[in-house]
Amino acid sequence: MKRRMFVGAVGGSAIAGVAGCLTRDGGENGTNGGTDDAEPENPDLEGELTVATYTSMVDSDNSAGPWLKEAFEAEYPDATLTWTVPSQGLNRYINREQQDADIEADVYFGLNVDDLVRIDDTLGDGGLLRELNVDRIDNSERIRDRLDMGDPHGRVLAYDTGYISLVYDETVVDEPETFDDLLEADYQDALLAQNAQHSDPGKAFLLWTIDTYGEDGYLDYWRDLEANGVRILDDWTESYTGSYMEEERPMVVSYSTDQVYANEYDYDMSRHQIGFPNDQGYANPEGMGIFERASELDLAYAFLDFALSSDAQAEIAQRNVQFPAVASEHVDLDPEFDQYAHEPPESVTFGYDALRGNLDGWVEDWAREFAGR
């Protein structure tokens, strides 16, 4: 009896399973395949807007996502904002575009410049996201000049930025004034960095050294750093939470907003000093864009505009612990945030043009220096 049920169950569910696995693609090429981004007279501000992002935007202690959803829906009562967190990040959509599968999102919230480079390397120039009609995004004028991400196809707008810097323990080491200082005996076995192959701060720090020493000199600098005992761990979490917080080393590549957390969590502030070698920090602006095949175009434009409004900018900055993208006269931040979030005197960043065609080679040459020997 039981056996019969078992056999029946196996056979039956196999058939049902196969039947349930067949789906039919929706209409050809989505509904808005064209390039008509002119502002309509009566924008359609009704419906479900799907916004793809990364996890900490919706899933950490006090993340910005829930606030954005609530405030956006209050502003546009006929709209629903649905967050989605793709497990492969933007790669998911690049893959789907390649396979001609449905793109289930309208907006991508949280792109770096190197994501744009990867899109264009894989899908051809100007792929995946649509060229924005900035006239439809009134607040885009408020974005600080430095945060232009340099896309020749005008697909993204920055909504915030972080600065990569050094975080150090002042009871063990002094602030390094320059990059060359890091090669001194005082900083032997002191620095923790991240693997630039797949860590954002790790990649930013590598690019920063390329900016300082040039394409031809950066590998020499890193060889010297290695001789002085730099350690390159997997990712920010491993290096910071794992190693730095357990006092393995007195200095780590991290974000210039570190003290905001140190203050919030009552950490010993002397272990959370911010260092800007060469008086610089590497700016890592985070951008947003609209998918070419978005189905809620008007709402998507409304969302981009909304994300740059004063209230949203203040909340994104404080909850995401990054700096706002708009100039300071357009945003009010808590004095406490201003006190603990440090901006470097000068910011460095590579735009789209500098990275296109170079980034992969730079990172791979760098990684080959360290691995496999």
Binding site: R24, D61, Q99, I232, D235, E238, E247
Partner: protein, 637 residues
Amino acid sequence: MARSRAFERWSRVRAGATAARDRLEHHALWLTALATAAVLAVMLYLPVGVVFAHAILDEGRLTLSQFADVLTDPFYVGVLADLFAEPLAVREHVVDVVGWLAAVSVSISVETPIPGLDVPVPWLRVVAPDVRTGLFGFTAYQAALSTVASVLLGLPAAYVLANYEFRGRKTLRSLTILPFVLPGIMVAVGFYAMFGRAGTLNELLGIVGFGPYSFIEANPLAIVIVAHAFYNAPLVARITVAAWESVDVRTVETARSLGASPRRAFRDVVVPQLLPAVLTGALLTFIFTFMTFPIVLALGGLQLATVEVWIYDRVRQLAYGEAATLAALETLLSLGLTYAYLRYESAQTGLARATSAPSRQPLFPDLQTALSPRRLAIIGYGLVALVVFAGPMGSLVVGSLTDGSGLTLRHFAFLLERQFEGESYQTLPVVAIRNSLLFGVATLVVALPMGVVVSTVTVRAGRGGKIVDTLAMVPLAVSGVVFGIGLLQGLVFGIPLPGGWRFQVTGAVAIVAAHAVAAYPFVTRNVSPLLSNLDPALVESARALGASRYRALVDVELPLVASGIVAGAAFAFAISIGEFSSTVILTGGGDTYTMPVAVERYLGRRSGPAIAMGAVLLFVTAASFVVVDRVGGRFER
């Protein structure tokens, strides 16, 4: 009249149904085998094939150029690159090897190899010119060291658990599998919390006036190897305990009665019965540590990168061709090893094992026995195990209860708050726990028949069976990163069919199938050795007495291999609970996330909530393993 015709038809139908049922039962084994093959084809060979096609296809044309590129790149294969580049220049290669050998010198000196301890030891010093091993060479080297460490740490545990009786033995035996379910990031955080300069171990040493030592900084490779042992020694222990408990004690008694000393009887009778299990554990450890990725980078850094690190990087860059080529080479290596091992395993046929298990001695019956050298050695081992296994896990739990300023419950408060006030698109702890347990049980239900069927089919198929068996081990030999991409491209996006249709597999069913595919090799590897040792006469007499092949399996063979099945079941459950890479892909943005996925999602700028979720993962899994083992133990004998 009409009524009798109806009755006639009814009885015909009934007879037909009975015949059909008999036939079905007759063929049940083959039907299950077919279902297994179908699951494997869809969930394993299709995705893996989709990825590996990238390795041999270039714009639709077959090519081996990508393999040639990798094999002639010294970065990947070190000195072997020359060999692959010019395989026919034998003379040159011989000259190279002779030149290298001539440059090797060996001398004996006195050194103090133990850091911190000034103990002089005679030391054999070998000076040899550097050989560039390349990424593959280094990966194999660290995997070999990790395997040795795992076996050395795992065997004493197996010895104690199989031979001694003490309070909590069963619970401890259940918990040996716990490290297996921890996500890599949690192990890394646990290791830093245990062995870091400010970690638990240094705090303990500080109490007695030592330290602090930089254990991790002093030798990252050593700490990576210990971390690999943390994962894999329990695996070795568990497989070996299962074999040890099914050693036929009568064979030992026979040897003793024939005059063998206890040591001799152990060496000649027990060891050969344990060896296949130990080697299975070693083989699995080698394959796992060969494909390691998060642990080496998290604890060792880029300097200890493995092949898998490069595969992951290529996948992130969407350079599937190179990723697939590296992965194919990795898989070929592991499958080659597996095949060699399976040939060995099949050569180890012995007698049917009856179930007269060895009796256990009490561990500490009295103080005098407790001070005997053997007991002291066990205590010493227990201390080491405490540091290596309990330490990192305990430090995790402590980490979930503290923050920079001292004891706190805020991380757990976060979980509660999230559960009760969280939005639907956020990750809710209870949903993760529920999914993990549900998928774990479902995986058991699917993977056990799959594993047993693969064992039965292959054990009986002779040499061809070894090849089938090797192919059935593919889930272990394929890199998790590659399998994930294959699932994504092959199943989640779907295979386009004519007429605008797509063949797609997603959601809970896909997750359970993927877990079952990852888990059944453990059932097979635990069952096969027992099954191949069964006396075929037992099955033959059952068949001669009229039992169907299926009935013989269920009534005769399964009870005799029950200990292997229970061991496999625990692994299947553990694999399902701990599986991350394919779960996270098949979950997508939906609500089929599991506990390890939740841990990953809570890792924001501050990791307190993630560590608290990790502690919940530890607790829930520990509780369920005790249950799995207690329930399983009833069927064992």
